[in-house]
């Protein structure tokens, strides 16, 4: 649409003769055209002057009296502007959005902290379990030596016979044969008690927390055998480590 055409729309707008679709078009043009905005402002003042040509009519006095009486009773605080509720709304909405983001961040941090705390709790519980047999007065520390097949291997066990708890470390054990696993035994009067199965790391080292031994008056010896995966109730395979 040409510039003169927008002046025509301005004239129509000034007297209220625009069609709805044209108003949107004019508004869009006025956004970027100062000249047309000034032109329209001038024409709006002209159209507002039109009623001055009419003979003034005197309203009944009752209208004025009722109006002023109503205004006198209107004790509502003056609004500071039509935009205030919107500003307040926008500010509140903005604040709410910021708070929501902060809450989400805090929730993430809280979840992370809780996860860390849980992990630390588990580590502390593990350490306490490991420490318990070490601290127990009835514990016994046993050094294990590698037998014929693994002479370089060795280990140590600290077992509290009364609580049935203990810790075991193995060093320089070769990987067990396929389908096999290492199993730790506590011996009491020649009878083996299952202390659990374990795997070695790449360097042949291993660690086992012993928790399931039945309470024993005494532990005579500790041994490691090679057993089928999953372990067995009583030793069946080759013994590789033994400590007494």
């Amino acid at each position: 649409m040409s510039h003169p055409a927008f002046r025509e729309l301005c004239a129509l707008e000034a007297v209220g003769a625009l069609e709805p679709g044209e108003r949107a078009e004019l508004d869009a043009h006025l956004e970027g055209c100062r000249e047309c905005r000034d032109y329209l402002d001038g024409l709006l003042e002209v159209s507002a002057s039109l009623p001055l040509a009419l003979r003034p009519e005197l309203p009944p006095p009752a209208i004025r009296a009722a109006l002023l009486a109503r205004a006198a009773q209107d004790r509502r605080p003056a609004s500071s502007g039509w935009w205030m509720p919107w500003v307040a709304f926008a500010a509140a909405a903005g604040l709410a959005a910021v708070l929501m983001l902060q809450v989400r961040e805090l929730q993430k941090e809280l979840e992370l902290a809780q996860a860390r705390l849980g992990e630390q709790g588990r580590q502390i519980a593990q350490l306490q379990r490991e420490l318990a047999p070490i601290r127990a007065a009835t514990s016994r520390a046993i050094q294990l030596k590698g037998l014929e097949t693994v002479p370089a291997s060795h280990g140590k066990a600290i077992i509290d016979p009364r609580s049935g708890q203990g810790v075991f470390f193995a060093y320089q054990l070769p990987p067990p044969p396929p389908g096999k696993t290492y199993q730790l035994w506590a011996l009491r009067g020649g009878q083996p008690f299952d202390a659990g199965v374990f795997v070695t790391d790449a360097e042949g080292n291993a660690y086992l927390l012993v928790e399931k031994l039945p309470p024993l008056d005494q532990v005579d010896a500790v041994a490691v055998t090679i057993e089928p995966e999953g372990g067995v109730p009583a030793p069946t395979g080759t013994m590789v480590l033994l400590g007494t």
Binding site: G16, A53, E57, D74
Partner: protein, 199 residues
Amino acid sequence: MSPHGAPMASGAWELRLMERMRKRDPEALGQLYDSYAGMVLALALRILRERSAAEDVVSQAFWQIWEQAPRYSEQRGSLAAWIVSIARSRALDLLRAEQREQRRRERAGEEIERRAEPVDDPAEWTLAGERRRQVVAALRDLPVEQRECVELAYYQGLSHREIAARTATPLGTVKTRILLAMDKLRDALAELASEGSQS
């Protein structure tokens, strides 16, 4: 500015009045009413052509002015233009809502029609003031068909398409007439205002 003063810009008196309105001073509303109620009623009567409805518009318009006084900004136009805009909107809303237009056209009386015409009694001029004479003169100088288009839009709330249909005139012609009329009115009022300020 009083409604009969010139030009159509808010004077210091009106700005002080609006400041008192914002502070909820009913007396300020009374003064504003005394200055503009006559014009507002004339405008409402011109649009509605029914006295009781026009008086309702006066009440509604001034209450709206009271309530919206804090919104008024002289940056967005003169106080007179704001008041006229409110009054015209209320009157046109009433006109459309009650669909009085058709019934009124059918039974429009000569007396009311005469009242709706611009003031042409010189005796009235002394009462109306300079600005009013300017507007009357400017309107009178317009070609009849241009003035008709402006008044159908302004006082009847018709769009240019409706005016074209009502007057059986091509749409483009209606648009051109309104543009020419508004430009002439603007120039005439500006020229008279300029002469007035020099005298």
